[in-house]
Subunit: 146 residues, 2 copies
């Protein structure tokens, strides 16, 4: 898997969510930078730093969350030559959950490395319910605390 080259941050992001949605640990780790300063923050979880901690967290998620599905959407992207900052919505769904989906907001930061674009940081956290499709961007709602 390590020979894959992502020509853009968008390609890398598509591969990230495909790996997530299909619970494919090898494909998941192939999208991450191979530097040991990668950071992953799962919703409600601690900050995980380094390849081993990040890999172990996804291994546990894929092992325990049978049938967990993810649908990303509404990306906003800011790029420089070497970095791409993406924010987007994630809809998570899992068998047995009372809600049809759980809305999350994610920040994904990608770096252009010698081996193409790779994921450097993933930070996901619970979001309020999405506005209906076609509504203006989800701005202006007062935050709960800070």
């Amino acid at each position: 898997m390590k020979t894959l080259i992502y020509a853009s941050s968008l390609e890398c992001e598509i591969a990230f969510y495909r790996a997530f949605d299909s619970a494919d640990l090898a494909a998941m780790m192939a999208v991450w930078s191979e530097e040991d300063d990668i950071v992953c923050i799962h919703p409600g979880g601690p900050r995980l730093a380094g390849i081993e901690a990040v890999r172990e967290s996804w291994r546990q998620i894929f092992a325990s969350a049978n049938g967990l599905r993810v649908r990303p959407g509404q990306p906003l992207v800011t790029s420089t030559l070497q970095t791409a900052i993406h924010t987007l919505h994630e809809n998570l769904s899992a068998p047995g959950e009372s809600r049809p989906f759980v809305p999350m907001i994610a920040t994904n930061v990608y770096l252009r490395t010698e081996r193409g674009w790779r994921l450097q940081l993933h930070h996901a956290s619970p979001a309020p319910d999405h506005p209906p499709a076609g509504e203006p961007a989800d701005a202006g709602q007062p935050p709960v605390l800070h």
Copy 2:
């Protein structure tokens, strides 16, 4: 306030938390990039995009959260020439809260602009309680969901 130049992402981050801690809206907005693609995600809140939405959110926080204090710590930083990716812990405290502080994890992304380093993205979300001081980095705890 707009004439301030931050020579590093760390300087900009110090100014961000000083403005936050002192509920100074002008100082807060001076640390942000002046581009309209800035993004701010408060804990549990929606994704806010653009200067007006971000400014209004901080105005509301500063107006309503009287005595809210923030203490940042444990930064991890990855930098390129134009971008700096910071993750850190935030301890929030407010009068009337049952807990002495509420732990958060924040991702702050800074860009080097023509006017020095500026904040491009702030994403904060609830964290589990911190490990005791002196413990190894807070890695390895299983995430709750994803």
